[in-house]
Symmetry: C2
Subunit: 264 residues, 2 copies
């Protein structure tokens, strides 16, 4: 069992309850990363379903969860031949932290697309991409240690005072330990980039309010490519869209989140 | 009270229950349009909230709802200064038909965007756009009578055997009766286009499994512009993205749905 599999493990207590232990390794200065938490919730939802893959996940982030024991409560809403619908809620100290609606289905790993779009932007080669500097130890940004991100350089220009002026963030992604991507890794990947608004000149904690992502295909082994952008920053709200492409050049996940602009 | 307001009315019974009457005017050969149903559910969710606007709605479509009496059950998950989170479920004959997670907040009608993207496609002028032919009466497609849609001609080429070969659907939209767009009209608008896969050569009923839409600004009076596309058709699933722009040239709503390809 890999470190990520262990950190996202959900142990079945009964028909509707799973025990989980939220891992400090995925925290960012205290709160836990949203994508990591979704991976934990999806472990329970998939375990409870007769179907194998989380094809659609919508989540409301009610409160910022912190490391430690928690439970996932699952409520099956409907199960049919093609798909199962489940409500899954992450609960800590008796209160809901994340509420989700999950659709599971069983994807065909050998499906050939009837039609596919192209990546919206061409990434530079891996060798031309760059890491973020290591965070200061006192910032307690543990998440960065769990994954490797190699960025398209202009999209981290904000680090050196040169934001591009529009919401964007793009990087190659893989786990720090050796592990092929799977749907749970994709849940982490869709929320792994720095907020796209940093590139538009904003700073500070940008809390996710809602995130929906769809699993579109089972990812091939190797690096994932995360292409993040946004359409509107207004009235304290912004959207962040991330497409995840696998090493075989297939669109494997799509996400959009609605979040608050930070005041940092 | 307009016909649309009447058809989406939710009457409060108690803290958690609203009575609604699902209107046959929004049916498509039997089942009701998903966007119309979301508008009904959102009436209840907004009424129950201290905040004024449905900024984020994620919905799972469990079963195809039909006209007649129904209830919306609301469960408030959290309320804070900025936003209220609610689960709202449409129930008919004791069974859930649509389950949603709704975030309400109060948008500032005079907000000026910090940053905004451009429409992804330029629409032809209204005068160059075309209506769909009236449906045959025996098809019972009542929905078309409630709204005016004027299409970008190539995107309905599929009607005459000339699909463009990619998922797309674009039209100007307004209600048939005189009514300025509001957030509830936008809920209808994000699901008002023919499925984008028709333009890629598919036909037949394309049931929505999940639809998430975000209200990004309060719409100005006048026509709305609906720009619909998609990124992948594979393994029986497709995504449909719709951006709604108002007559003042602002992005007012964004939606994505995951749906099944029809077998028609």
């Amino acid at each position: 069992m890999t470190k990520f599999d262990e950190a996202t493990r959900a142990i079945r207590l009964d028909d509707t309850t799973y025990d989980v232990c939220l891992d400090n390794g995925y925290s960012i200065g205290g709160p836990l990363n949203g994508g990591y938490l979704l991976a934990v919730v999806l472990r329970a939802a998939v375990d409870e379903s007769p179907h194998a893959h989380p094809v659609s996940t919508s989540a409301q982030f009610l409160r910022a969860a912190t490391p430690g024991p928690a439970t996932v409560r699952v409520e099956r809403l409907k199960s049919g031949r093609t798909a199962t619908m489940t409500r899954a809620t992450l609960i800590q100290d008796g209160r809901p932290f994340i509420d989700t609606l999950v659709t599971t289905a069983t994807l065909d790993g050998s499906a050939v697309p009837e039609w596919t779009g192209e990546p919206p932007v061409r990434m530079p080669d891996l060798g031309e991409c760059v890491k973020l500097p290591d965070p200061k130890p006192e910032s307690n940004i543990n998440l960065n240690g769990q994954m490797e991100l190699l960025f398209d350089p202009p999209t981290i220009g904000w680090l050196s005072g040169a934001p591009t002026g529009r919401p964007e963030s793009r990087a190659y992604f893989r786990l720090a330990e050796e592990q092929d991507p799977d749907p749970f890794v994709l849940a982490l990947a869709v929320d792994a980039l720095p907020p796209v608004v940093f590139s538009a000149g904003s700073r500070g904690w940008a809390p996710t309010v809602e995130l929906t992502w769809h699993l579109r295909a089972l990812p091939a082994p190797g690096w994932l490519t995360l292409l993040g952008g946004g359409r509107l920053i207004s009235d304290g709200w912004f959207d962040e869209e991330v497409e995840v492409w696998d090493s075989a050049g297939r669109l494997v996940a799509q996400s959009r989140q609605l979040a608050r602009v930070g005041r940092g």
